[in-house]
């Protein structure tokens, strides 16, 4: 077991794109698929980049991590919140466990990775949440200059989404990803490592900004549009860079290509707070007449029982007496109120009067134990086909544009898994029932390091047989 292990993390890549639609156009990934093991990788709930990569790298579910999305409420405040960052993650990641055993790691862009933690024998470049390249974004600090040099003087953490300026997004997307792989090659070549992981956010941005252009099944697809083959173009560019990188890793490296969740076309956005108002849960002092964030709307908290947050899923919070500043729901009634609202949510219909396939979770039941600033309920609208719009002041409950920016896709529960060992031909073996939290214990076993006791993930024994 003296092999090195590398992970190429492609954010938001679904099996339908990588395995079904584009594989034959991607010679390098296809070779790894044909000679290795592949399968779907089931993500966590919620299927969101933050927490998904940390679930993968700690082996622990979001409830144990206390991370439910990019942004959290601060305690029980109505409007105060915080952005999740690397210090929010209290559980050990794979590279922290490796560091304690004297093993060396390279960690490029894994979210949430800013600020970079000071971990011995671990070269870290922070993630797309980094405010800018003027910040200290590497561990050790002096690595920053090397990263900037490898990226030609300008490193791009993330693309900027501009409403309907797709050309600018496209240009920056390709530039960003090329630079990421330039840095990956530099690090893999010049630094000693036992474990290498890189994360590329570009796929997620490609999907959100361009899905309607390349998916003929999307309601807004127009045949012959200028971005019709952009998916293929981008995936091929990455395939080429993966080919170069895997060659550079050499024969003694086992490489994984994984994603943290899937993607699919967005049907629309459901205005959760307007619906809650209709059901008598929210009361406004002044009802907004134009699009307004719920945090900024004049909510009458003395008459509001519950409200929700937008995103790819909805977080619902009850306004509980003695917990929220001016709570109205009695603590003893909370469980009954949750059940009542859950049942109302399950009866929501779409814009055509068709029953949505909604899912409602209670964090403690879902995770066993849920710490941190958790919502009271988590809701997926119509199997995630509809995103949640938290804003109010719309004419309808149903929006066919995202309320917050250009967006044509939503997240789905299945990501991808490929494992490739250059010294073996496994004849395209299929891996079944793999979950994202299984990655951490599997990687540790592969690297000969003991796992911790309270992981939710299990070793994927098929990859060792």
């Amino acid at each position: 077991m003296s092999k090195r292990v590398a992970i190429i993390g492609l954010d938001s890549v679904p099996p339908e794109m990588m395995f079904d639609k584009l594989l034959d156009k991607l010679p390098n990934i296809k070779r790894m698929y044909d000679r290795g093991i592949h399968g779907d990788l089931e993500t966590c709930n919620p299927p969101i980049t933050v927490p998904a990569w940390m679930v993968m790298m700690t082996g622990k579910n979001p409830g144990k991590l206390g991370i439910y999305g990019f942004r959290h409420r601060r305690g029980f405040s109505y409007s105060d919140g915080y952005i999740v960052n690397s210090t929010t993650v209290k559980e050990d990641t794979v590279w922290q466990m490796l560091s304690r055993q004297g093993k060396k790691s390279i960690v490029l862009g894994v979210p949430p990775g800013y600020p970079p933690k000071a971990i011995e024998d671990t070269e870290i470049v922070s993630c797309f949440i980094t405010p800018g390249q003027d910040k200290q974004f590497t561990n050790p600090p002096e690595l920053k200059q090397e990263v900037l040099a490898a990226a030609g003087g300008k490193y791009i953490f993330d693309v900027t989404f501009r409403t309907e300026d797709r050309e600018a997004i496209r240009k920056e997307l390709f530039e960003m990803t090329e630079k990421r792989f330039d840095v990956a090659e530099y690090l893999a070549k010049t630094k000693p490592w036992d474990f290498f992981i890189m994360h590329e956010i570009g796929f997620d941005r490609l999907h959100h900004a361009f899905w309607k252009f390349f998916d003929p099944k999307h309601p807004k697809y127009v045949k012959g549009n200028q971005y019709e083959n952009l998916d293929e173009e981008y995936y091929k560019m990455v395939d080429d860079r993966i080919g170069r990188l895997v060659k550079l890793f050499g024969e003694d490296t086992i490489t994984f290509i994984v994603s943290d969740h899937g993607s699919k076309g967005m049907v629309g956005a459901f205005c959760v707070n307007q619906w809650l108002e209709q059901q008598g849960y929210i009361s406004f002092k002044t009802r907004p007449t134009k699009m307004t964030d719920i945090d900024k709307a004049e909510v009458d908290w003395t008459k509001t029982k519950a409200w929700g947050w937008g995103g790819y899923y909805a977080r619902i919070f009850f306004n509980v007496k003695g917990r929220e500043p001016t709570g109205v729901v009695e603590r003893k009634d909370l469980e009954a109120e949750k059940k009542k609202l859950s049942s109302l949510i399950m009866s929501i219909k779409d814009n055509n009067g068709k029953q949505m396939k909604n899912v409602v979770f209670e964090p403690d039941q879902l995770y066993g134990r849920a710490i941190g600033d958790k919502p009271d309920l988590m809701v997926y609208f119509d199997d995630l086909n509809w995103r949640s719009a938290g804003t109010v002041g719309h004419d309808s409950l149903y929006l066919f544009e995202n309320d917050t920016g250009p967006d044509d896709s939503v997240h789905s529960m299945m990501g991808i898994f490929i494992m490739y060992d250059p010294s073996k031909n496994l004849n395209s073996k299929i891996l079944k029932n793999a979950k994202i939290e299984d990655m951490a214990p599997t990687l540790l076993k592969m690297l000969g390091v003991p796992s911790v006791d309270d992981m939710d993930g299990h070793v994927l024994s098929e990859v060792f047989s």
């Binding site: 952005i83 960052n85 210090t87 933690k117 405010p131 995202n402 920016g405 911790v452």
Partner: protein
């Protein structure tokens, strides 16, 4: 060998019996923690992580927060 694996994962630390009993009483009332060890591990992880990161400055300035929120919003996360 399972026994060796288990042994290598855990060790014993001593805490006063009175403290142990107080924690036990408390966790019976509050759901979630299965045992005193479970609770103590959780609290210690929090505290140790806090000390490990105490030299790291506040990650985001207020301007950063506004910019990141705008970005995350445009990306559909909020």
């Amino acid at each position: 060998m399972p026994q060796t694996t288990t042994q290598s994962k855990y060790t014993t630390v001593s805490i006063p019996i009175t403290l142990h009993d107080r924690i036990e009483k408390m966790i019976i009332k509050k759901s979630g923690f299965k045992s005193v060890s479970d609770y103590v591990t959780y609290v210690l992880r929090e505290v140790v992580a806090m000390h490990e990161t105490k030299d790291v400055p506040e990650p985001f300035t207020s301007t950063d927060v506004e910019e990141i929120k705008a970005r995350l919003k445009a990306l559909g996360y909020l």
